[in-house]
């Protein structure tokens, strides 16, 4: 059976919500919020359908779509080399990411109840952002990928700049510039491949580039490094991370849920699909450096997180540190490592979303995220404190939760290829525990510092937290849940890496 336009439907399903919102008057707040949340549901259902269909063994080719989009040059005079198609496709990894995106979008939409003003504009931009994210993971050729990649930037810019905290404009601009540079480099690479090879179709490029004759060794290496920089900004790889800290601190939590949950992961996605996918040999020769970068990320982020006084900053640096695990996994260049990296992508997505949702909840009540001003939350809001603890334990890699699986596999991989480095990296595991406990305990434990009378989580607030925790634990307890879908993706990658 085939699925005509399923991917297109998924990608553009938020448009429906946008249209409805466009015609709802500003003043109907509750209605707007409701629509905003509901608008994310169709995509969720469709992606789940896609996932199930895929798990039931539907062929990936059944999902692919292709429509001619534009020709730069006249196809009658020149051959159709200079033509770009609108083509969508999906593989195990991207399906996984699509599901994750849909899920987190819905949760973030629910989490948006804490947004204070102008819900209409907020939700319209929110849904636009969602389209962009879907598109990135469903894109079948690089130009489409790039287009959606850029489309994510704009709504995010406005969402940060309008609904963020004190320093929001600065954060928004630096977000834009950094990612602009990243995408600029990406565009150069893409157009170079397009101009020199004549296609940007991802599968086609994979097969063509595997041919040694195409492009010289050094060119490939340059392209790969360019790609690593381009996606390194997104991931972010040290030292390209300072924008990301600002965004994490200034952006509204519901957006950070998506940002940390999905947008950062686009970097990893691109690195895996294009970095390794297109230039496996070159990637192998860089593997050591990637792994070293990973360890640096891991430790650097951890050490900085250790002395932050603002919980949001702690989480921001912990994100940097956790992205180090992804690099470590990729640097291992074996199936365990790559799988670990992918798991980390998913798991950190969920954990970051959870933690920032909790931040949003207690910021709502305490109007601060400074560690010094918080404390003893376990008495005032035991449930929130409990979830916070769960989140912290999850992201410090407690077995039984998704974080551990990712960490375990990444290190398993790295220990095979470069044990010494891996051993150094293991320091990071300890540090992670140290800084997370330091931060979380000083918020939840100890004598209560703040005097405001606060209520614990509302039921509506519990929904996202519970769902996220369930997923985190589910993956942690039975990782094959998602590992099974990834096997062929990883096989192709590892085969590309030559065993």
């Amino acid at each position: 059976m085939t699925f005509p336009y399923l991917l297109t439907l998924i990608v553009f399903s938020p448009l429906l919500g946008i249209l409805v919102l466009a015609f709802t008057p500003k003043t109907k707040e509750s209605a707007i919020k409701l629509i905003g949340v509901l608008a994310t549901i169709p995509a969720l259902i469709l992606t789940l359908y896609l996932y199930i269909a895929f798990q039931l063994g539907a062929k990936l080719s059944d999902f692919a779509e292709k429509v001619s989009w534009m020709q730069f040059a006249n196809p009658e005079v020149f051959n159709s080399v200079y033509s770009v198609n609108y083509e969508l496709r999906a593989d195990g990894f991207s399906i996984l990411m699509l599901v994750l995106t849909a899920l987190l979008s819905t949760l973030a939409a629910i989490a948006s109840i804490h947004i204070k003003k102008e819900w209409k504009g907020y939700f319209i931009l929110f849904l636009l952002l969602q389209i962009g994210m879907f598109g990135v993971f469903a894109a079948g050729n690089l130009i489409l990928f790039f287009i959606f990649f850029e489309i994510t930037l704009i709504p995010t810019f406005f969402l940060i700049g309008k609904w963020g905290y004190a320093e929001k404009e600065k954060a928004a601009l630096s977000f834009l510039i950094y990612n602009g540079i990243g995408s600029a480099i990406l565009l150069i690479v893409i157009m170079f491949l397009f101009a020199k090879i004549g296609t940007t179709n991802i599968e086609a490029l994979m097969s063509i580039l595997s041919n040694k004759a195409i492009l010289s060794e050094s060119t490939k290496m340059t392209l790969l490094i360019a790609l690593i920089i381009a996606f390194g900004v997104k991931l972010p790889i040290f030292p390209l991370h300072s924008w990301m800290v600002r965004v994490h601190v200034e952006a509204p939590p519901s957006i950070v849920m998506l940002h940390a949950g999905i947008l950062l992961k686009i970097g990893a996605y691109g690195l895996i699909k294009f970095g390794i996918g297109f230039f496996p040999e070159q990637f192998q020769s860089l593997a050591t450096w990637i792994a070293i970068l990973g360890v640096i990320n891991l430790l650097y982020g951890a050490f900085l997180a250790l002395i932050q006084t603002d919980f949001k900053k702690v989480l921001a640096y912990s994100s940097i540190s956790h992205m180090g695990i992804v690099l470590i996994g990729l640097g291992a260049i074996n199936s365990a490592g790559v799988q670990g990296a992918i798991f980390q992508v998913v798991s950190h997505g969920l954990l970051a979303a959870l933690l920032f949702w909790l931040v949003s909840i207690f910021y709502q009540r305490y109007e601060t995220t400074k560690l010094a001003e918080l404390g003893g939350m376990a008495r005032a809001m035991p449930v929130t404190a409990g979830f916070l603890l769960v989140g912290a334990l999850g992201s410090l890699g407690l077995p039984g939760m998704s974080g551990f699986i990712a960490e375990f596999m990444s290190f398993l991989g790295l220990f095979k290829s470069m044990p010494i480095l891996a051993a150094v990296g293991c320091l990071g595991i300890i540090l992670t525990a140290v800084y997370l406990l330091r931060a979380v305990l000083s918020i939840t434990f100890g004598e209560g510092k703040t005097t405001n009378k606060v209520k614990d989580m509302e039921t509506i607030e519990k929904i996202p937290a519970v769902i996220l925790v369930c997923l985190i634990v589910a993956i942690g307890v039975y990782p094959d849940l998602i590992a099974s879908g990834l096997t062929n993706t990883i096989e192709t990658i590892v085969i590309g890496l030559g065993g």
Binding site: P239, H241, S242, Y300, F303, L304, L306, I307, N334, S335, A336, Q339, G376, A378, R379, G386, L393, L398, P399, G400, F404, I405, F408, M409, F411, L412, F415, K416, P419, A422, A423, C426, I429, I430, L431, A433, V434, L437, R438, L441, T444, F445, G446, E447, G448, Y478, P479, D480, A483, S484, T487, I490, E491, V494
Partner: protein, 621 residues
Amino acid sequence: MMEFAWIIPLFPLLSFLLLIVYGKKWGSAAPYIGMLLTFASFIVSLLVLVARFENPTYKAEATWLTIGDATLTAGFEVNQLNALMLVIVSLVSFLVHMYSKGYMQGDERISVFYSYLGLFTFAMLGLVLSPNLLQTYIFWELVGVGSFLLIGFYFYKEEAKAAAKKAFIMTRIGDVALFIGMILLFWQVGSFEYDEIFASVSAGTISSEMITLTAILIFIGAVGKSGQFPLHSWLPDAMEGPTPVSALIHAATMVAAGVYLVATMFPVFAASEAALMTVAIVGAFTAIFAASIGLVQKDIKRVLAYSTVSQLGFMMLALGSAGYVAGVFHLTTHAFFKALLFLAAGSVIHAVHTQDIEKMGGLWKKLRLTGPLFLIGTLAISGVPLLSGFFSKDEILVATWVHGHTILFLLAIIAAFMTAFYMFRLFFLVFGGEARGDTNHVKESPNVMTVPMWVLAFLAIFAGYINTPWFGSFLGDWLTDGNAALGHGHIEGPIWIMGLATAVSLLGIALAWLIYSRKSLSRDWLSSRAPYAYQLVNKKYYIDEFYHFTVVKAASILSRVARLFEVIIVEGLIKLITAFITGLSKLGSRMQDGQVQTYGTVAFLGLAVLVIVLALTGGYL
């Protein structure tokens, strides 16, 4: 029966889930749920143990995670060792559940307490059942969380917070070592399964260096959990948790997990003399080191804590001296009498609301039940003949001697002497003499607390008889049955060792009696002799201070360096670039001076430059 062993951990897990969700609603009903479910798992584990007597080892597993071509499995296994452990754990856990009903009476978060207990018990039982290293590691960590949560149960106390954090992080250090060792083994063996590991070890496919390395790494993990030197200092602080917790986690079960791990991995250790030696030395040193600190502690629970550390040292020593049986045997007996001691101490604290032994005294008359129970425990741990501790400790000494560690043997003897001394010091200070604090409102604990103690007391006395020089070493034979790598069920040692052991323990008791009960020797008789030594011991050899000034400081310095780097290099670079661009644009807009002739000039100059270049290069550029 054994194929249902997997159900054992599920009872406590169920209790955890139920109580965490509905605990608030059910309130006072929570303890009964906890007790019921743990009792159920105790019964099942008992049945499993019985079943294990006639049936061979049972193992079941299913695919858990596929990595490339390797598939990791999860499952459970029932062999002699963990069948035994199952019973110990579930029993002690059940008793503690019961005891806590009385001890935690009136605490509004009692349901949370029970749910945590459930979580811990689940993890501990899971750990015991694990058939492979990875699964062990997983539960190993979960056990740590359980302990972390329970230590931090009184979250509003800064000490509790600190202790919980310390416990988690220090054990984590060990865990990472275990993590590394485990992964290294995996790449050597290609599997986490115990039996496959042992197989390839005995097959000699692994280089001896690798064996030693991994064994030691795994041992470091054990060191962390079992509070061996140098990772011991979290255990005494862990006494911030409620006393029943100390009894369950920090005496009977979790801290023993380290020993259990070494015991399970014994074939690997046995394959490397160096590894065994390390274990033995660390064990012996810890034994005497902790005992010496125990001599001067003023907090009833801390004395017990240090004695725990020291006893665990004994077990490690045993394992390190190839005394597999001795180790496990002491593990068993220790579980009972130490749990007993803690519960008794708990009931004392419950009665007098202080932990400072200086403020106690003369409680023998007040606490008619607790006193004798405590005495039993004390006798047992001091190795007084005919009680359980006597037999197991004797086994250890024999093993050490036979294995030829003369020095370690001496250390062990001294440690044993100290044990006897400080335990009775404790006993006399708490129960003997006259009351130093006000004791008029002191009353005996309710039955729900005393009954478990009676059970434990019974076991503390008679558990030793399952493995004695006289009535046959039933336990040993059973444990080592069909597994040559574990050594003999019973090691014949010279008879004088038993005499010596008895002598030193009696000597210790006598000394304690002289100083603290009969007061014929002044209390600072010894400390005044060597004030510095006393100071040193009293300050626990400044271990914590040492860590604070090395590890912690180093970390914070590194963090500061990182921050400097962040501010100066990372941010600075960006500032530089932006400054450059803005400077350029400033220059550009200044050139735009509004003079039309300037514009014309610029255009002309542009043309001129182009033409000149053309002229010079002759058209080629």
